[in-house]
């Protein structure tokens, strides 16, 4: 390869909004319900049914637009995108083509070299999700569940401003954080509440015109996105080097095979024949509505990080990790407000929490323990009512089930034994059982005391204060 190529990438990101009901009807959006139990004539496309816009969808879409520096369209409307597929019962998807709710925005990402780069946002529009198709293994048919049909989505269309997989991932992370901070969605790629389609073309470095692009679908992890970008870049360069043309088409990424294939044929041509939806009235965004949404914008990550630095005196690295998840930041702030010990709360999050998250493959958004319980655990340890090792043991149960640590310690009899008599009794037994170690300590081997402390703690089932054990052991041996 003698020529130098550059990859040009734009993204279409679909985000499922965290509303209680669907975009155009009062059906619940709760995940995991039995098939078709959350459907009605509107979201299953029955003739004569009429859609009515969920106000919350509009508010979330505007909030995301404001957070991404977009112009808010003051007079917006909905259009029908026509296509036939069984997951789309109306034979059209209600979307926005002509007057989308947000346009011309940008977000800033950090580049690998540590600089800042703006990625432009072409537009954000509101639309409805499709149903789910299940393929029957036994009979020659497919089955449709319309529970997801009509779940609200926003589609965020970027400008072709990204040049590498790293930039794409930085951009997605940025969007994820903004939207999670807004509470507008949980943005989980794996579960499909955030989906990214990659539009990619290559061109010779320095070329002014863009090459022909392809659109890649079915990317459900950051790793899959990186691999798909590498694979598609290579495929397009190979075509060009071989003197062939790149065809503008939609391709489906198969992550297990590490390759993509063209999805559509002439039989399902992409001609959506958009036209305004006559069933939905236009949306006029008033000054008051805009003012209200602007006033309700939360503190975003950068501001939060700045405030943490000033208020809490915890390391920058901790701040970075904690604010990477809105949920974890909420736990941190609430627990700190109760116990007044930011450093200790941070230590629990950075230590045991991250360790268990990694071990159990849990997402920070799914942490279940409450800040009240974490604060209580810190208090129990501070008051020396439990030892450090018992605290870790209790935390693990809290991590799983959000138990009240005080009650759990009580019920399981985990309180530190501060009764000196029983401690001395156990220590006497340990000394009697380990004459060699005792002799070693007496002959100056300081390390031997560690072993004896360990034996005592084991005999006490971890419920003794190690410092007290250490002190009494030394006294007893020297006697």
């Amino acid at each position: 390869m003698s020529k130098q190529y550059e990859t040009v990438i734009g993204l279409e990101v679909h985000v499922e909004l965290a509303t209680k009901t669907k975009i155009f009807c009062g059906c619940s959006t709760t995940f995991g319900a039995a098939p078709n139990t959350q459907t009605c004539p509107v979201c299953s496309g029955m003739p004569g049914s009429l859609p009515v816009l969920n106000r919350k969808v509009l508010e979330y879409a505007i909030a995301v637009g404001l957070a991404t520096n977009c112009e808010i369209t003051r007079y917006a409307k909905f259009d029908r995108k026509n296509y036939f597929y069984p997951d789309n019962p109306q034979n059209y998807q209600i979307s926005q083509l002509y007057l989308p709710i947000c346009r011309n925005g940008w977000v800033e990402i950090e580049t690998k070299k540590g600089g800042l780069k703006r990625v432009g946002i072409h537009e954000i529009h509101m639309e409805e999700d499709a149903g789910k198709l299940i393929h029957d293994e036994w009979e020659d048919c497919s089955l449709v569940d319309y529970n997801r049909s009509g779940v609200p989505l926003i589609e965020i269309v970027s400008k072709p401003d990204m040049r590498s997989a790293e930039e794409v991932i930085a951009y997605l992370e940025k969007l994820r954080l903004l939207i999670q901070y807004l509470g507008a969605s949980d943005c989980k790629l794996q579960e499909g509440s955030m989906r990214a389609d990659v539009n990619l073309s290559v061109r010779e470095v320095g070329a002014k015109q863009l090459g022909t692009r392809t659109e890649m679908k079915n990317l459900n992890s950051f790793k899959a996105i990186s691999r798909a970008i590498a694979g598609e870049t290579e495929r397009q360069i190979d075509l060009i080097e071989a003197g062939e043309r790149v065809i503008q088409e939609t391709r489906r990424w198969d992550d297990t095979k590490g390759e993509s294939y063209a999805m559509r044929s002439k039989e399902d041509a992409q001609d959506y024949r958009y036209f305004p939806d006559p069933d939905l009235v236009p949306v006029a965004v008033s000054d008051e509505m805009l003012k209200k949404i602007r006033a309700a914008q939360p503190e975003f990550r950068n501001e939060k990080m700045q405030r943490y630095r000033e208020e809490f005196g915890i390391p920058d690295y901790d701040i970075e990790i904690i604010t990477e998840s809105k949920h974890m930041a909420d736990i941190f702030e609430a627990a700190t407000a109760i116990c007044g010990q930011p450093k200790k709360v941070s230590n629990w999050l950075m230590g045991e929490t991250l360790r268990l998250m990694k071990e159990r493959e849990t997402d920070a958004e799914d942490l279940r323990f409450s800040p009240e319980h974490l604060a209580k655990l810190i208090w129990l340890a501070d008051k020396k009512l439990i030892t450090g090792s018992v605290a870790k043991e209790v935390f693990e149960v809290m991590f799983e089930e959000n138990v009240d640590p005080e009650r759990y310690v009580e019920e399981m009899g985990l309180k530190t034994v501060n009764d000196e008599d029983s401690l001395r009794k156990t220590i006497a037994e340990v000394i009697a059982a380990n004459p060699q170690s005792v002799a070693d300590y007496r002959s100056g081997k300081e390390k031997a005391i560690g072993f004896l402390v360990g034996q005592t703690m084991k005999a006490m089932k971890g419920k003794a204060d190690p410092a007290a054990v250490n002190q009494i052991l030394r006294e007893e041996i020297v006697k």
Binding site: G26, N36, K56, H135
Partner: protein, 97 residues
């Protein structure tokens, strides 16, 4: 008739509409569509300088619902409309993704 619909166009429209037309039906549809376009072209004769495109027939805007669940499980009724059902779902011809 000013608008002539080509064979390719009628075939393409057939694909989009998922219709299989016989030779006779194709000819009939070509003539009908040509006349429809002629009729629409009539509108092109109007001078619309300075007229905003209409978004809706009625001067109504901002009709919203609040984000409150109002529908119960009505699967049974919904499935009454299914030509065939299985495991609480609508049965359709096999589709591939």
């Amino acid at each position: 008739m000013a608008n002539i619909i080509s064979d390719e166009t009628i075939e393409y429209v057939g694909i989009l509409a998922k219709l299989e037309l016989s030779q006779g039906e194709q000819e009939q549809a070509k003539a009908d569509m040509g006349r429809m376009l002629d009729y629409i072209d009539k509108l092109g004769e109007l001078d619309t300088t300075g007229v905003e495109p209409m978004s809706h027939v009625f001067p109504v805007q901002n009709v919203f619902r609040e984000d409150v669940v109002t529908n119960n499980d009505m699967r049974e009724q919904m499935l009454l409309n299914a030509p065939e059902e299985k495991d609480g779902m609508f049965v359709v011809p096999k589709t591939f993704l």
